[in-house]
Amino acid sequence: MEAKLVERVQRDNDHHAFEQLMRQNQSPIRQFLRRLTLQNQAIADELAQETFLKAFVHIKTYRGEGKFLSWLFKIAYQQFISSRRKKTEQTNVELEDKADDGQFEHRLVAEKTAKNLLKHLNSDERAILLLHFSHDLRHQEIAIVMQIPLGTVKTLIRRSRLKLKSFAEENKSEKTDEK
């Protein structure tokens, strides 16, 4: 079904088919970008729109190798990286800078949920955990999306989840100390 829609867009520039493809794939792309931008919905949705616009323009380069959604994730991640480079995402950059600062944790209200703890990770670590655990991408697919070696994917996943765990434990101990 999806392959036929892609074919229609590639062959006839069919807007209706592309709209259907977007309906099927918009939710994971927007969720991913919202998490990457630390829930800045306006920026995330703008990036999602740019992702789909770019996907439409370059759809002929999609050869059907791998899932269409993985291809969209790759574009979305590139959009996020380039927007961060242009420093249009001030809030996110500020938060990331603070996340690297050890004192930031003391100022944060300790929240134990995994989603809130994502703020403490850098964007690569956030992206890799989200792609693997939230969107079920395999290691090989993540390597293609993020354009990094397979070994790095495995290392980053392990490191990120250990980091999350240590942040959760720190928050827990801080709460206990406060009592």
């Binding site: 918009q26 655990f133 939230s134």
Partner: protein, 111 residues
């Protein structure tokens, strides 16, 4: 389920988000695609119109003169022929018509 960041199933559940239902999103992206296509077409039409305009100004008066009075009437180096003025107006007319033609292509999606 145990709260453990090293447990795959727990982490999957902890990081999952609610499905986003939003038909307006895809609709607005399609509108942007259509707008982009229209703008890129407009650039093409503008370049085409400019090219036709330049060719018309440069050659149409001379061509008309050649057809109406023969090749000897064309003076390449001499002063401007008085009869050339109506030809210039005809050239401008052709430019105007070419613009109308090109914009009608766009409005009726003929290309």
């Amino acid at each position: 389920m145990k709260n453990d960041f090293l447990d795959d199933d727990w982490l999957k559940e902890a990081l999952s988000d609610e499905y986003i239902h939003d038909d307006d999103f895809s609709f607005s992206v399609v509108k942007k695609i259509q707008l982009n296509e229209r703008q890129s077409k407009r650039n093409f039409y503008t370049i085409l119109a400019v090219m036709i305009g330049v060719i018309s100004v440069l050659f149409i008066p001379d061509l008309l003169m050649i057809f109406s009075q023969g090749p000897t009437s064309l003076s390449l180096l001499g002063p401007v022929n008085e009869q050339e003025m109506p030809m210039k107006f005809m050239g401008l007319g052709v430019i105007f018509l070419s613009f109308i033609l090109i914009w009608s292509f766009e409005d009726f999606d003929l290309i």
